[in-house]
Symmetry: C2
Amino acid sequence: MRGWDFSVPIDPQAGVPLFAQISRVIAADIRRGRLRPGDVMPGTRTLARTIGVNRNTVIAAYDDLAAEGWITAENGRGTFVSRVLPDPRPRRFAAITAPSAVADTGAFDLADGIVVDACPSDVEAPYNLAGWPDLRLVPTRALARAWRRSIERRGRHVLSYGPAGGHPRLRAALASMLSAARGLAIDASHLLVTRGTQGALAVIAHGLMRTGDVVAIENPGYSRARQVLSMTGACIVPIPVDAQGLSIDHLAAVAEEQPIRAVFVTPHHQFPTTVTLSTARRVRLLELARQHRFAIIEDDYDHEFHYDGRPILPLASADSSGNVVYVGSLSKTLAPGLRLGYIAASRRVIAHLLEYRSLLDTQGDQVLEAAVAELLEDGEVQRHVRKVRRIYHARRDAMAALLKSELGDAVSVTLPVGGTALWIRVAADVDIQQWSRMAAAQGVIFDIGDRFSFDGRPVPYIRLGFAGLREPELAEAVQRLAATLTAARSRTSPPALPERTAVDDLTAAS
Amino acid sequence: MRGWDFSVPIDPQAGVPLFAQISRVIAADIRRGRLRPGDVMPGTRTLARTIGVNRNTVIAAYDDLAAEGWITAENGRGTFVSRVLPDPRPRRFAAITAPSAVADTGAFDLADGIVVDACPSDVEAPYNLAGWPDLRLVPTRALARAWRRSIERRGRHVLSYGPAGGHPRLRAALASMLSAARGLAIDASHLLVTRGTQGALAVIAHGLMRTGDVVAIENPGYSRARQVLSMTGACIVPIPVDAQGLSIDHLAAVAEEQPIRAVFVTPHHQFPTTVTLSTARRVRLLELARQHRFAIIEDDYDHEFHYDGRPILPLASADSSGNVVYVGSLSKTLAPGLRLGYIAASRRVIAHLLEYRSLLDTQGDQVLEAAVAELLEDGEVQRHVRKVRRIYHARRDAMAALLKSELGDAVSVTLPVGGTALWIRVAADVDIQQWSRMAAAQGVIFDIGDRFSFDGRPVPYIRLGFAGLREPELAEAVQRLAATLTAARSRTSPPALPERTAVDDLTAAS
């Protein structure tokens, strides 16, 4: 032992088991050379006595060290520090000194880049009115328990490669939810699990869009959808939205002029305006798709959050031709950080898309998929949705009342029938950009209408999320909005009224 | 109460808390109409007595029901079944009868599809020799604990939107591992977390490759890399591999003829041949990249699993020009099902790629990323790697011995210095396809050389993974290989010797 002292500092109170504490101390002594290759280790009985623990604890520590290769038991001769230690120092393959940091110049040219629309709502702020769900309400315990069960009971299976379309239990649970609650006549074979809505749209873009294809999209609309749907070369045509949703007259006119490949719609609560696509337009849209043979990409991102009257079933529930490619997500239902979404469509479309999904990222995270499947099977997700729907409903009403009382005639508030945000018309004498900057400086973040415009025309609206904050927090946020509004209003002279904006259609028709 | 009987069947032994059992029974009774909107609920004291539980249990059940909207307490008047029940039945927007299933015909045309190379190794089988890690060894408990801590301590944060490049702790932990163990002079700003290697290559393809770009790739090589790197229109040029790895002479000749955009290499243990790129070739490859200004995509997929002598540092450790885009993954280190990989490169490349990552799937799963960061910080991952490296080392030796003794002259086995599989030359009189089919029928799955060929030339090799199975399992698998070999050898007449094959270079040079 050449003087290795047996003093192994252990702490029975520490969270780490005793044997692991012992083995770590010994491994560290080997690593730093206090114990050297070939040194004999003390007997387990001796060491146990010296440090005052049960001998079995020392045996467990030695087993652990042996498994990791630090020590080797030689039959009948005792236990020794291994001659070949784990973690051999790797060798450089050339006499090149390591650069102090990877150089940023002198290298290959980069292709033309892109800049993805960064939501101001990505910013962390005390009062983020981005329209996110309240993540404090997520049943994290149930989720953590289900995750543990998933990995412990089915570990070998879920940790391995699996089907590109998602864990079979999650596909089945989602299909059964969509068929029971949203009227889709589907089973698991019509469904593909994705990395949230964005992942779903990426798969759809790769599977369906080719250079030069025309894709119609709502304006104002969801800019990340516009960007991802055009990433494989499609040409995007914005179609105006009014108080009844997407203008089908406008879409029909475009379809008469040129073949269109697909239309992207958010019919339940249009993003960002929150309007619902009217019944008459739904029927016409489905007819138009049949007539011109284009795909309808229906993004039903917050189906559950409908407060007034009965929710409307998705287009996909009435699609007898297989033209609807339905996209949903658990980002609002549970949490955006989980990145769980799905595509429901005809079997031929799903089979086609599966290959692209496989190429883009192989498969999803099966541990998580199986865990969430369990929560759906047990009704946990449904219970959570019911609970938060009531809470969001109350927050919507509270927020609307606060805005009316605190912001007065600067805004004109219409209650949305559903969703997680209010779409608010702002008076012409308010400098919205300025207001948004000043509010941000006070910790209040919100989206402004211009961000959602695809044709450059001003959109004199703001979008204020109410779901993510408790009522007293909403009150504080609105106080700060009111405080900054005054400055944004008085500092600038009233701008000339914009001519006719994209969403005047909205006011005109309502 | 109009006759609602109070009989609430409860089971104190069930895993579900009593209050939840009670509230579920009552909710179900409301849902099926045995309790109707406006009905008065029994007092908590009465109900507690009737079903024989503590009154507080009933109070908790009522609170739960009220939170979900099933019942409403009216001040001083009692508790009633809510007049507006949760989950209103959604309405159809048109008098369209639901199709019995989404139609698969008569819809929009699909674009030309692709077929992604389906590994035979995706098949579940008793003896899958795909070269996967042994998932029974994964520290699932530590992982589940870390996941729970991640979601419970940082829930609101990790469940939300976050940086597209990955959770900051994971970026930092990976950067520090790569700089300590693999000689990369990087910090977190040089690193981007991805969905495994496939996700990393998809991001790289979108960020760097444009239609018509030439990308050189090892042949035989990794077919999913070939497919994903060409998905944005790049033209793939296969470059032969011999016993010293990628032929740099061949690559240099190609680069003289035409500009090449990038070369894809697996220098540590080439996939599938397991050969290590020689020192001289490494130096020449880096020089060639500087001279012709192309990117080197270095896929170091199983760095840790090196058994003989010291591992060799990656090309990225000696890249002073910023030409190496380094790709790694935790698929072999921990488990493929977690889908965690990363790209390390110069800051300008990372900033460029981040936008594409964001467009493709927004961000990773931060709960998991923070959990794995914790395991890296605590040294859990490193301990796991040390442990399994010893085990795989022993399995490699056992497998090689078994093959020699059981398969005799039908195969010629060379020990690989690292990795998780053996690359084995098969005698000319064996019908490899036939052997593989017959072995599969006996539950033994392995990859055959032709799958890895990009120029159509036969590759008379098979790849046998040894890492995923215990030694007795390997013995049984080899027994079955031996049993089926006889038939695959005798049934067919020896085929004419193939001319010169892609990997005869291998034998020639060794």
